[in-house]
C-alpha cells in the first residue's frame, strides 16, 4: 500500500500479513505513522484512490480475496462481515441526523425493515451497549451525548448487522481512564457473546496487556513481531518491542530514569535500507543496514523480523 503525494511516494504498508480467528482478539500495536490504521482502512476498503494505491497483496475473508471482488460484493461484506469503529466518535457520527436514525438506517437499507421495526431494533442495540434510557436517547443528536456515550453509540451502529469481525481503531484513546475501562469491558463482553473476531488497533501497551490474545507489533509499515500476549511481554523477540516496553512509565513502579529508544521513526518516503529500525537499534550490525530481515518463525506461534531474533529468544 502506498500513498502517491505531491512530495513523493510514501510507502505506508510494506508487506503486512496477519489473520484473526473467530472469537479471538488480535492487537495491532504501533506508534503514529507505523501503518496500523491504514492497514485496517485497506481491509475495509475506505481509503481514497488517489492518493492511496494498493500495489500488491490480498485481504481474504473466509478465503475470498476482497481486493479483487466487485464493489457490490465488497459492500455486502462491509457491516455484515467486517465492521469498524473509530477513535473519534464525534467525527465518525453524522451531526445532522439523530443517533437512532443512523443506527436504524442500516436495518432499513440492508434488512429491508419498515420504519417502526427498524426503530425497535435500533433501541435494542442501544440497550445492548448499555446506554441508559435508550428510548429517549434514540431521538437525540450526537452532540447531546458525552464522549463515552458516543463511543457506545458507534459500537451499537457497527454491531447492528452482526459482523463476524470488528476492527476497533484506537477506540478508547480519546476517553478518560474510568470511561476507557467501561468501554473495554463492553467490547470484551459483546465479543464473547457474539464469538466475534476483534482487531484492536492501539498504541497503548496497557490496554493491550489487558485484553489481547495475540499481538502484532508494527514499525514503518511492517510487522516486526507477532506473538501470544503473555510471551510478548515476558520475552520480546525484537529490539523495537524491547525498547517500547522499557520506555513506558508504570503505575506500579517508581523507576528512575526511563530507558528510551533514541531518534525518531523514519520518514515513510525515505525508509532506510535494510531493517527499517536499524538507525535506532542498540543491537544494529552491518548486516542490518544491508538486508531486510524477513518475519520468520522463532518459536511455535511467534515470529520476529530481526536478524538476531534467535539470540533474543534464547537469552535468559
Amino acid at each position: 500500500m502506498e500513498f502517491r503525494t505531491r512530495d513523493g511516494v510514501a510507502k505506508v504498508i510494506n508487506g503486512v500479513t496477519y489473520h484473526v480467528d473467530a472469537g479471538e482478539t488480535l492487537a495491532v500495536l504501533g506508534e503514529s505513522g507505523s501503518g496500523k490504521s491504514v492497514t485496517a482502512q485497506t481491509v475495509m476498503g475506505i481509503l481514497d484512490t488517489p492518493p492511496g494505491f494498493v500495489t500488491g497483496g490480498q485481504v481474504r475473508f473466509h478465503g475470498k480475496d476482497m481486493l479483487t471482488m466487485s464493489d457490490e460484493e465488497r459492500r455486502r461484506i462491509r457491516g455484515e462481515g467486517i465492521a469498524m469503529i473509530f477513535q473519534d466518535a464525534l467525527s465518525a457520527l453524522n451531526p445532522v441526523f439523530t443517533v437512532g436514525f443512523q443506527i436504524a438506517e442500516q436495518f432499513r437499507v440492508r434488512r429491508g425493515m419498515g420504519r417502526a421495526e427498524a426503530k425497535k431494533r435500533a433501541i435494542e442495540m442501544l440497550d445492548q451497549v448499555k446506554i441508559p434510557n435508550a428510548k429517549s436517547r434514540f431521538s437525540q443528536y450526537p452532540h447531546q451525548f458525552s464522549g463515552g456515550m458516543r463511543q457506545r453509540a458507534m459500537i451499537a451502529m457497527s454491531l447492528a448487522l452482526d459482523p463476524e469481525v470488528l476492527i476497533a481503531d484506537e477506540p478508547t484513546t480519546a476517553l478518560d481512564v474510568t470511561v476507557q475501562a467501561q468501554i473495554m469491558d463492553l467490547l470484551a463482553e459483546l465479543q464473547r457473546e457474539r464469538q466475534m473476531g476483534l482487531i484492536l488497533i492501539t498504541h497503548d501497551l496497557g490496554v493491550v496487556a489487558d485484553v489481547a490474545d495475540r499481538i502484532a507489533v508494527m514499525y514503518a509499515g511492517r510487522i516486526v513481531e507477532e506473538a501470544d500476549v503473555y510471551e510478548l511481554y515476558a520475552k520480546p523477540a525484537h529490539p523495537y518491542t524491547i525498547g517500547l516496553l522499557e520506555s513506558i512509565p508504570r503505575l506500579d513502579e517508581k523507576g528512575q530514569e526511563l530507558r528510551t529508544i533514541k531518534g525518531l521513526p523514519p520518514n515513510l518516503m525515505n525508509i532506510p535500507p535494510g531493517c527499517p529500525f536499524n538507525p535506532r537499534c542498540p543491537m544494529a550490525q552491518p548486516v542490518c543496514r544491508e538486508k531486510i530481515p524477513p518475519l520468520l518463525q522463532v518459536a511455535p506461534g511467534r515470529a520476529s523480523a530481526c536478524h538476531f531474533a534467535e539470540e533474543l529468544v534464547s537469552r535468559d
Binding site: 456515550m149 481512564v177 470511561v179 489487558d210 489481547a212 500476549v229 520506555s247 513506558i248 512509565p249 525518531l264
Partner: protein, 337 residues
C-alpha cells in the same frame, strides 16, 4: 527543599453562563475551580491528576495569571500574583513559565525556531542583551537536545517530540523558578514521551526547577512527581506524597482511578480488581450537593449529600483526603507482592 515557593489558597474560578445577546443575563456559573488550596515547595514536582473537565487546565491558567481568579489567592514568595499589574506583573512572569500540551498549535508557524525561543528576550531585554541573543538561543537548543544549527528552521520541519522540546526551551529562556507543565507529553508517542520526560527530569536537577505537572496519565505523573494532588470537578479530593497516593489511597475516586489504569503486564490480568464507576462526570454548572463524587460513589450515604467533606487527615490515614469514609485500600498490585 522546605521553603514554599508558591502557595495557593482557596482558589475559585467561575465562568458565567449567559443567555441573550443584547440583554445578557447570567443564568449560571461553570464552577471550573472551586476552592483549591495547595503549596509548591522549591525544587519539587507536584503532580495534578484528574479526568477531563475537572479543572486542571483552568488551574494552570490561573497560576500563570492568564485568568484572574474569582476568589482566593496565588502567593509567590509572599506576593499575591493575581493582584499584580504592569511592571510588577511583567517582572513576575519571568519566574513562572508554561509548557503547553499541543506542540502543533502552541508554536507560531510563521516564526523560525530562533525567533520563537528568542521572543521572551524581546520582552525581558535585561536577561539577554541584543548581541548575545543568538548565542543564548543556540545554548537553549543544545540544552533541550536539539541541533543548534536548526535555529532558522520553522516548526513544521520538526516532529512532535522535537516541537515539545522547542516549547520547553522557550519556557526555560528566562531561567524561571517554576514551570507549569500542562499535559506536556500526552500528545506524544511512547518512545518519544520517555525522551521528553527524561529531559524534564534532567532540567529540574540542573536548574533546581519546581514543576506543577498536570496530566491525566497516572503512570506518567507517578514517574515524575514528588507529591500528587487528585482533582475531581474543581476540587482537590486527595493530596499526598507519591507513595501515599499510589500505595495508600483513601479517597474512593482515587482508588477507582488507579484501579482503571491498564498495567502493561498480562500476567496481572486476573489479580487486578477494577472498580467500575458508573456514569459520567456531572456538569460543573450544577455539581451535586455535598460531596461531588457521591453520584458515582459506591460508599455514598445520606451525609454525603448534606455535608461537603473537608480535605483533612482522618483517623487511620496519613494524608489529607476529602471523603467522609476515607479508608485505605490496596489498589496497585506491586511486583514485590
Amino acid at each position: 527543599m522546605t521553603e514554599n515557593i508558591l502557595e495557593i489558597r482557596d482558589l475559585v474560578k467561575h465562568y458565567p453562563v449567559t443567555r441573550g445577546v443584547v440583554f445578557k443575563k447570567t443564568i449560571g456559573q461553570v464552577k471550573a475551580v472551586d476552592g483549591v488550596s495547595f503549596e509548591l515547595k522549591a525544587g519539587e514536582t507536584l503532580g495534578l491528576v484528574g479526568e477531563s473537565g475537572c479543572g486542571k487546565s483552568t488551574l494552570a491558567r490561573v497560576l500563570m495569571n492568564l485568568e484572574k481568579p474569582t476568589a482566593g489567592s496565588v502567593v509567590y514568595k509572599g506576593q499575591d500574583i493575581s493582584r499584580l499589574t504592569g511592571a510588577a506583573l511583567r517582572r513576575l512572569r519571568r519566574q513562572i513559565q508554561l509548557v503547553m500540551q499541543d506542540p502543533y498549535t502552541s508554536l507560531n508557524p510563521r516564526m523560525t525556531v530562533g525567533d520563537l525561543i528568542g521572543e521572551p528576550f524581546e520582552i525581558h531585554p535585561e536577561v539577554a542583551p541584543k548581541g548575545s541573543r543568538q548565542g543564548k538561543v543556540k545554548e537553549l537548543l543544545d540544552l533541550v537536545g536539539l541541533n543548534p544549527e536548526h535555529i532558522n528552521r520553522y516548526p513544521h520541519q520538526f516532529s512532535g517530540g522535537q516541537r515539545q522540546r522547542i516549547g520547553i526551551a522557550r519556557a526555560l529562556a528566562l531561567r524561571p523558578e517554576i514551570i507549569v507543565c500542562d499535559e506536556p507529553v500526552s500528545a506524544l508517542d511512547v518512545s518519544i514521551q520517555a525522551q521528553v520526560m527524561n529531559l524534564l527530569e534532567k532540567l529540574q536537577n540542573e536548574f533546581g526547577l519546581s514543576y506543577v505537572f498536570i496530566a491525566h496519565d497516572l503512570s506518567v505523573v507517578r514517574h515524575l512527581s514528588d507529591r500528587v494532588a487528585v482533582m475531581y470537578l474543581g476540587k482537590i479530593v486527595e493530596i499526598g506524597t507519591e507513595d501515599e497516593i499510589y500505595e495508600r489511597p483513601t479517597h474512593p475516586y482515587t482508588q477507582a482511578l488507579l484501579s482503571a489504569v491498564p498495567v502493561p503486564d498480562p500476567t496481572l490480568r486476573s489479580s487486578k480488581a477494577i472498580i467500575r464507576l458508573t456514569g459520567d462526570v456531572p456538569s460543573p454548572i450544577s455539581p451535586p450537593s455535598g460531596c461531588r463524587f457521591r453520584t458515582r460513589c459506591w460508599k455514598a450515604q445520606d451525609v454525603c449529600a448534606e455535608q461537603v467533606p473537608a480535605l483533612e487527615i482522618r483517623d487511620g490515614s496519613d494524608h489529607p483526603s476529602a471523603c467522609h469514609f476515607a479508608e485505605k485500600r490496596e489498589i496497585v498490585a506491586t511486583h514485590e507482592a
